[in-house]
C-alpha cells in the first residue's frame, strides 16, 4: 500500500491548520466543516479509496480490507529522532475487526468480473431516517449535490413462527396491515396519536398545564409505559424494536444494558414518524444512498475540496511529531519521509499513537460491547416483489437466549450496489464476544436464507430443491466479522468515532460535531452562505423515485 508513497511529489504547503488522517464519514465531515470555516486542511488516507471504515467496496477489496485490518499489525519501525525540536511517536494501526470469516459458495457466479460490480458497505446494515439530523447536515453542508438517495421500500419484523410481517409504522400502513387484528390496529393507532399529542403539547409550552404523558412516565422505562398503555406483546415488540430500534431485550431488565426511557422512546418515535412522508418519493421512513454508503464520506470530501482542502490518498503516516519541550502535537511524518505541520490532528480510530509516555490507548478499555456484522449475497430476494427493505429480529424471536435485537437490510441492484438480479443482505447485532455475535447472526441468516454447508455450489442446489415449498434464497457469498466499538475523543490529537451498531449515523455525527465544536469553539459547523451552490431547500434534495 505504501510502495508508491515515496514517489509522490512533496506536499506543498507544509503548514496547515488541521491535518485529518482517514476519510471516514466523521473525518470527512470535520474536514469539510473546517474548510468551510476557512481553515487550511490536509486530508490524508493510506487507502487507495475514500471512506475508511465507512466505505463501500467490491467483494475482493472488502475481503482484503477486513483481513488486513484484523491481523495484528506489524510493529512499526520506531522512527528515528533526528535532532529537531520534536520527537516522532510511531503511529500504529489498531485492528478494529476480528473473527473475519469469508466464504464464497459460488466462485463461478462471483468471479473477478462480477466482484467489481459490487459496492458493499463495510458498516452495514445502515440507512438514514428521512428526518435524520444527518440529512439536515448533508443539506446544510451542500454535500447533497454529490449523493442521491432512494427510499427503502418497507420494513418487516421477524416473528417466532419464522414469518416476516410488515411494520405498521404509519396510519396508512396500519390500515393496510394484514397481520394485525382490528382491535390491535386501534390500540396501535391510539398510541401513535397519544405520542403525537404529547409532542404537539410540548411545542405549545404546556398550555393545559399538564402534558399528555406525565413526567413520571417519561422517566420510567419505555417498556413499562407500553405496558401501562395495555399494548399487547406483539405491538409492544413492534414499537420497541422496529420503530424505536431498541438494541436489547427491554422486557428483561437483568440482561438489558440500556433500558430505553419513555422520553427517549418517544423521541425515537417522533423521529420515525416525521421521517415517514418527509420526501414525496420515499414512502417509508428510511432511505439509502445510491452506490452505497461509501458515497457519503466522498460527498463531504468533495465539499471540503471545493473549499480548498487538499486530499491525498495512498499516503500512510508513519509517525506523529511531538514537541520536545511541551510534549504537544506538532505535525506528522508521511511514509515518504516528509514532515508536515498543523495546529490540530484528527485520526481515524484505526490508528493509535504509541506515545513514549505510554498512557493506555484511550477508549478501548472502557467499552465491553462489540458489533457483529454479516453480509450475504443472494440471487433472489427474501420477499417477492420487494427488493430494498429492513428486517428486525426482536430479542427472543430466534431463540430464547437472544438478548439483542438483530437488524438486517436487503439492498437490490436498483441501488447500484450489486450486479443486476443480485441482492446484498446486511446483518448486525451487538454482542459481548465474537462467539455470541456469530451465533446470533448465523441464526438470523439461517432463518431466512439457505447457507450452504461447504463451499460447494452443487450441494446448495440440492438442498434448495428439496424444500421448494418454502424456498429460501441461497447464499452465494457470505462474510461475518466482529467490529470493535470505540468512542471518539478529544485531545490535542483527536480521534473520531467508529461505525456504531445503530442503523443511522445520528450518534456518530453528534459525536463528530461535538468534537468539531471542541476544536473550534467559535465556529459554526457549516456557516450559512447565500451562494447558490449551497441549496438548503428540501425540494432540492435529490431522491430517486
Amino acid at each position: 500500500m505504501s510502495e508508491d508513497a515515496s514517489s509522490y511529489p512533496p506536499i506543498e504547503p507544509t503548514n496547515f491548520d488541521l491535518i485529518v488522517l482517514g476519510t471516514g464519514l466523521p473525518e470527512s465531515v470535520i474536514a469539510a466543516a473546517a474548510s468551510a470555516n476557512g481553515k487550511t486542511v490536509l486530508h490524508l488516507d493510506p487507502n487507495p479509496f475514500y471512506g475508511s471504515n465507512y466505505t463501500s467496496l467490491s467483494l475482493q477489496d472488502l475481503s482484503s480490507f477486513l483481513i488486513s485490518h484484523s491481523a495484528p499489525p506489524p510493529s512499526p519501525p520506531s522512527a528515528p529522532s533526528d535532532g529537531h525540536d520534536f520527537t516522532p511517536a510511531a503511529l500504529a494501526a489498531r485492528p478494529l475487526f476480528s473473527h473475519v470469516e469469508i466464504s464464497s459458495f459460488a466462485p463461478d457466479v462471483l468471479g473477478e468480473e462480477h466482484s467489481r460490480k459490487f459496492n458493499v458497505d463495510l458498516c452495514g446494515p445502515r440507512v438514514l431516517f428521512c428526518a435524520d439530523k444527518s440529512i439536515d447536515l448533508i443539506l446544510k453542508s451542500g454535500a447533497n449535490q454529490y449523493v442521491e438517495f432512494k427510499g427503502v421500500d418497507a420494513s418487516f419484523v421477524y416473528n417466532e413462527n419464522g414469518k416476516l410481517t410488515s411494520v405498521p409504522d404509519s396510519r396508512a400502513a396500519i390500515f393496510k396491515d394484514k397481520s394485525l387484528g382490528l382491535t390491535e390496529k386501534n390500540q396501535l393507532m391510539r398510541f401513535f396519536k397519544l405520542v403525537q399529542q404529547h409532542l404537539d403539547d410540548k411545542g405549545g409550552e404546556d398550555e393545559s398545564g399538564n402534558s399528555r404523558i406525565s413526567e413520571q412516565d417519561l422517566e420510567s422505562p419505555f417498556v413499562e409505559f407500553l405496558n401501562k398503555m395495555r399494548l399487547p406483546p406483539k405491538i409492544k415488540s413492534i414499537i420497541l424494536y422496529a420503530i424505536a430500534m431498541a438494541d436489547c431485550d427491554q422486557d428483561n431488565v437483568d440482561v438489558c444494558e440500556d433500558v430505553l426511557k419513555t422520553k427517549d422512546g418517544i423521541d425515537r418515535l417522533a423521529l420515525y414518524n416525521s421521517s415517514v412522508g418527509r420526501f414525496p418519493n420515499a414512502l417509508g421512513a428510511f432511505m439509502y444512498p445510491i452506490y452505497g454508503h461509501g458515497e457519503l464520506p466522498q460527498a463531504f470530501c468533495r465539499r471540503a475540496a471545493v473549499k480548498g482542502c487538499i486530499h491525498v490518498l495512498r499516503m500512510p503516516v508513519i509517525a506523529v511529531l511531538m514537541d520536545k519541550s511541551t510534549g504537544h502535537y506538532k505535525g506528522v511524518r508521511l511514509s515518504s519521509g516528509q514532515d508536515l505541520f498543523s495546529h490540530q490532528l484528527i485520526l481515524d480510530p484505526s490508528f493509535i499513537v504509541q506515545l513514549p509516555l505510554a498512557s493506555s490507548p484511550p477508549g478501548l478499555g472502557s467499552i465491553k460491547r462489540k458489533v457483529a456484522r454479516g453480509i450475504c449475497i443472494t440471487k433472489s430476494s427474501l420477499r417477492p416483489e420487494t427488493s430494498n427493505f429492513l428486517v428486525i429480529y426482536p430479542p427472543r424471536s430466534l431463540f430464547p437466549e437472544q438478548v439483542t435485537s438483530i437488524r438486517a437490510l436487503q439492498i437490490g441492484s436498483d441501488l447500484a450496489v450489486c450486479p443486476l438480479g443480485m441482492f446484498v443482505i446486511y446483518f448486525s447485532t451487538l454482542c459481548h464476544d465474537a462467539n455470541q455475535g456469530e451465533n446470533l447472526l448465523n441464526a438470523a441468516m439461517d432463518s431466512l436464507l439457505t447457507v450452504p454447508e461447504s463451499a460447494h455450489p452443487e450441494s446448495s442446489t440440492t438442498v434448495h430443491s428439496e424444500n421448494s415449498a418454502e424456498e429460501k434464497p441461497t447464499v452465494l457469498w457470505k462474510a461475518l466479522y466482529i467490529q470493535e466499538l470505540t468512542m471518539g475523543h478529544f485531545e490535542s490529537i483527536s480521534s473520531t468515532p467508529i461505525p456504531d451498531g445503530n442503523l443511522n449515523y445520528n450518534n456518530i455525527l453528534q459525536a463528530t460535531l461535538k468534537l468539531f465544536q471542541k476544536m473550534y469553539p467559535l465556529e459554526e459547523v457549516f456557516p450559512e452562505t447565500d451562494s447558490p451552490e449551497n441549496p438548503e431547500d428540501d425540494h432540492e434534495f435529490s431522491l430517486e423515485s
Partner: protein, 702 residues
C-alpha cells in the same frame, strides 16, 4: 392542504392584495368593455385570460370565453387545425386558472364544456388529474372531473374501483374516494358485473376494508359514511312493500252510532263512526311510491258502489309520490242491514304500476280482506249539543281488554308480507349485522367514540327490524335508548337528532306488541260525547317524544294524546286518517307550518295545540323544511278569503289560514302560544265556521 390554520395577513400582504385588486379592476373594466361590444379579438381574449388567471371565480368571464369560442369556431369550421388550436388555447387558460385555484367551479366547468365538444384529445386529462390529486387527494372537483373523463374515455368501472382502492390505501381519510367507490360499486352490483356477484360476497369484502379504516382511526369520519352506505346496502329491500293497512287484514269493522257504545262485546279498536258516509281505506308502504290507482289496487265489495276508486297520496308537499295512500269507500246509496256483514277484499299490485321513487316495482302481489258490520245510526244525535272533549287526567281510565274480544288491535302484525330476499340472503343479512354489532361492541369497549355508538345504535335497530317478523318483542331497544341518551350528553350540538332517533325507538318499543301498546290505551270517560266514534284514546303523553313514528301500527287511532312531549314536528301524522281528537299541548311546535300534516286529516274535530311556541320565534325554521306556501298547487279562492278575513291582514296569518281553512274543527285550544291574542282568535272564528269551543269557551253562534 387540510387542517392548516389561517394566518393573519401581514401589512405587506395587504399592500399586495390592494395592488392585485387595482390590477383586477382595470382588467375587469377592459374585459367588460370587450364583452359588451361582442369583440372576440386576440387582444380581447388575452385580457380575458389574464383576468381569469387572477380570478378564476369570475363566471361572466368564462361565459364570455364560451361565446368567443363559438364565434371563432363558426369562422374556422372547415379547418381542423385551427379548431384544435382554438380549443387547446381554452384548455391552457383553464389550466392556468386552476393553478390559481384548483377548486374553481367555473374553470372545471369550462374544461368539461370544451371537452364535450369531442374535438380534444383526452390523454392529457388523466395526467392532469393525477397532478391535481397528488396536490390534494380529497379535491372533490377533481373527483367529479375524473368521473366525467372516465366516462368519456370508457374506462371500466372495475379500473376506476381499483383507483379508489389505491387512493384509500394511500390515505383512507378521503371522503371523495369512498364516495366514488360507493357510486361505482352500486353500478357494478346493479349490473351484476363479472366478479361482482353475488352481492353478499362483494359487500363482505367491503365491510372488511372499511373495518380497517374504522378501527385504525375511529375519529376519521369518511369511513363511517361508507359504513353507513354499506349498512343500507345490506338492510334495504329494493322493492316497495305493503307494510300495513286500515282496516287491517281479517278485521271486523263496525260502523256504528252512539247508542251502541255500551255493547261490551265490541272491540273499541275496530268500531268506527263516520258522518260522511264513507270509510277510509289506507295502505301504508315501506317507502314512498307512485302509481297507486284503481288498476293497481282493486277493491271488491258491495260497498264500492261507485266503481272506480280515487286514490289520494297522503303527502304534505302535494307530490304524487307518497308512502301512504288513502281512498274512501262509499256506502250511503245502499241500504245496510245490521244483521249482515259486508266483506271487502283488497288486492294490491296484481297489475304492475306501483313504483318506488328510486324506480323499483312493487313485486309482491298481496291481498287483504276485512268485513264491515253495521249498527243503526240514530240521526237525532248529530247536529246539536256538541259537548266539549276534556283531556283532563281523571277522564281517562286504563283500558283493560276483555278476553272474549275477538280481534282486538291492530294492524300491528297482520301484514307480514315476505320481502324479496331469499332465505340464504336473509341469513346472510342477519349474520352480517350480528357480526357488525359484535365488532362495534368490541371497539366501544376500547374507546369512547360518538360515531361508533351511533353506528351501534343503527345496527341494533337494523337487527331488530330484521328479526321483527319473527319476534314481536324488541330485544335491543333498552340498549339503543341508552346509547342515544348517552350520545345526547356526549354530543350536545346534535342532541336534537339523537332525541328524534330515541323517540322513534321508544315508539317502536311501545308498538312492538299488544301488551306493551295496551299500557298506553285508555278509555275516555266522557262517554256522552258524540264526536268520539269510540272512547279509546292512545296516550303517548309525557314520554319525551320529539318526533312521531311507528305510525303504520297506529292507523286505527281516533283519539291521540301527545301532550307534554318535545315535539317540534308532527311529520307522519297525516297517515292517521281516523284521527278525530288530537292533543298536542305542551310541546315545542314553533309554527303553523309544523302543523302541515293536519291539513290531510279530514276527520279531525278536536285539536289542542295550547302551550306551544307558535309565534315566539321571529324566524320560522320549519318553513325551510317545507316547500313555500306559494308553491301549494291547490286552488285558493281569493275573493272568498277576503270576505272571510275582512279587516284582518291575511298575510300575517297566512300559515294559520292554510292549516285551518280546510279543517272542520269543532274544538280548538290555542292558549299559551305567543300568537294567540284576541285579534288572532277572532280571525280563527271567522275562518273555521264549524268551531264551537275555543280555549274552553263555548262560542256564541251567530
Amino acid at each position: 392542504m387540510h387542517g392548516q390554520p389561517r394566518k393573519a395577513p401581514k401589512p405587506e400582504d395587504e399592500a399586495a392584495s390592494a395592488a392585485k385588486a387595482e390590477k383586477l379592476r382595470s382588467l375587469q373594466s377592459q374585459f367588460l368593455c370587450f364583452h359588451h361590444s361582442n369583440i372576440y379579438s386576440k387582444e380581447a381574449l388575452e385580457v380575458n385570460s389574464r383576468l381569469l388567471e387572477i380570478n378564476p371565480e369570475y363566471y361572466t368571464a368564462w361565459n364570455y370565453r364560451k361565446l368567443a369560442v363559438e364565434h371563432r369556431l363558426t369562422q374556422s369550421e372547415s379547418d381542423p387545425d385551427s379548431v384544435n388550436s382554438i380549443l387547446n388555447e381554452e384548455l391552457k387558460v383553464v389550466e392556468s386558472a386552476l393553478r390559481q385555484n384548483f377548486k374553481s367551479y367555473g374553470a372545471w366547468h369550462h374544461r368539461k364544456w370544451v371537452l364535450s365538444k369531442g374535438q380534444s384529445s383526452l390523454d392529457h386529462e388523466l395526467r392532469l388529474l393525477d397532478r391535481f390529486q397528488k396536490a390534494d387527494s380529497r379535491n372533490f372537483h377533481a373527483w367529479n372531473y375524473r368521473r366525467f373523463v372516465a366516462s368519456l374515455l370508457n374506462i371500466s368501472e372495475v379500473d376506476e374501483l381499483q383507483y379508489t382502492t389505491d387512493m384509500i390505501n394511500k390515505n383512507f381519510s378521503n371522503y371523495s374516494a369512498w364516495h366514488n367507490r360507493s357510486v361505482l360499486l352500486s353500478n357494478l352490483l346493479k349490473r351484476k358485473a363479472q366478479g361482482f356477484f353475488p352481492k353478499e360476497k362483494v359487500l363482505n369484502e367491503e365491510y372488511e376494508l372499511v373495518h380497517q379504516a374504522l378501527f385504525t382511526d375511529p375519529d376519521d369520519q369518511s369511513g363511517w359514511f361508507y359504513h353507513l352506505w354499506l349498512l343500507e346496502q345490506t338492510v334495504k329491500a329494493d322493492a316497495p312493500l305493503l307494510v300495513s293497512s286500515w282496516p287491517a287484514h281479517d278485521s271486523n269493522l263496525i260502523l256504528l252510532g252512539e247508542s251502541c257504545l255500551e255493547d261490551s262485546a265490541l272491540s273499541p279498536f275496530n268500531t268506527f263512526h263516520s258522518e260522511l258516509g264513507t270509510i277510509p281505506l289506507v295502505v301504508y308502504f315501506n317507502k314512498a311510491v307512485e302509481g297507486v290507482n284503481s288498476s293497481t289496487i282493486s277493491v271488491e265489495s258491495v260497498l264500492n258502489t261507485k266503481g272506480e276508486l280515487t286514490w289520494k297520496p297522503l303527502s304534505t308537499n302535494n307530490s304524487q309520490t307518497a308512502q301512504v295512500w288513502v281512498t274512501y269507500l262509499n256506502y250511503p246509496n245502499i241500504k245496510l242491514h245490521s244483521s249482515e256483514f259486508y266483506p271487502v277484499e283488497v288486492s294490491v299490485g296484481h297489475t304492475q304500476g306501483i313504483i318506488s321513487s328510486s324506480g323499483f316495482h312493487y313485486s309482491h302481489p298481496s291481498r287483504f280482506a276485512f268485513k264491515v258490520f253495521v249498527r243503526p245510526f240514530e240521526k237525532d244525535l248529530a247536529g246539536h249539543g256538541v259537548e266539549m272533549v276534556s283531556w283532563r287526567e281523571d277522564n281517562f281510565l286504563l283500558y283493560e281488554s276483555h278476553s272474549q274480544e275477538s280481534n282486538p288491535i291492530l294492524s300491528l302484525d297482520q301484514l307480514n308480507i315476505k320481502d324479496d330476499h331469499e332465505e340464504s340472503s336473509l341469513k346472510w343479512r342477519a349474520e352480517t349485522i350480528a357480526n357488525e354489532i359484535a365488532l362495534f361492541r368490541e371497539l366501544l369497549s376500547e374507546i369512547n367514540c360518538k360515531i361508533g355508538k351511533l353506528t351501534l345504535a343503527r345496527l341494533l335497530i337494523a337487527h331488530e327490524t330484521m328479526l321483527s317478523p319473527i319476534a314481536n318483542k324488541m330485544v335491543h331497544s333498552e340498549e339503543v335508548i341508552e346509547l342515544y341518551s348517552d350520545l345526547m350528553k356526549l354530543d350536545s350540538p346534535h342532541s336534537q337528532y339523537y332525541k328524534d332517533e330515541r323517540s322513534l325507538v321508544l315508539l317502536q318499543q311501545i308498538t312492538s306488541n299488544r301488551e306493551s301498546l295496551l299500557r298506553y290505551c285508555f278509555r275516555h270517560g266522557d262517554r256522552t260525547s258524540s264526536i268520539l266514534g269510540n272512547s279509546m284514546c292512545l296516550r303517548l303523553n309525557n314520554i319525551s317524544l320529539s318526533r312521531m313514528g311507528s305510525i303504520e301500527k297506529l292507523l286505527w287511532v281516533q283519539m291521540l294524546d301527545l301532550s307534554h312531549n318535545e315535539l317540534r314536528s308532527i311529520e307522519g301524522l297525516e297517515a292517521m286518517q281516523l284521527l278525530s281528537c288530537l292533543n298536542l299541548s305542551n310541546n315545542k311546535l314553533s309554527s303553523f307550518t309544523a302543523l302541515g300534516p293536519l291539513r290531510l286529516l279530514k276527520s279531525l274535530k278536536v285539536l289542542d295545540i295550547s302551550f306551544n311556541e307558535i309565534g315566539s320565534h321571529s324566524i320560522d325554521t320549519t318553513r325551510y323544511l317545507c316547500s313555500s306556501p306559494l308553491s301549494h298547487t291547490e286552488e285558493i279562492d281569493w275573493s272568498h278569503d277576503e270576505t272571510v278575513t275582512g279587516d284582518v291582514n291575511l298575510t300575517n296569518y297566512w300559515e294559520a289560514f292554510l292549516i285551518f281553512k280546510d279543517l272542520n274543527l269543532t274544538q280548538l285550544d290555542i292558549v299559551g302560544n305567543a300568537i294567540a291574542d284576541e285579534k288572532f282568535k277572532s280571525f280563527l272564528v271567522k275562518i273555521v265556521p264549524t268551531l264551537k269551543w275555543l280555549d274552553g269557551q263555548e262560542l256564541q253562534l251567530h
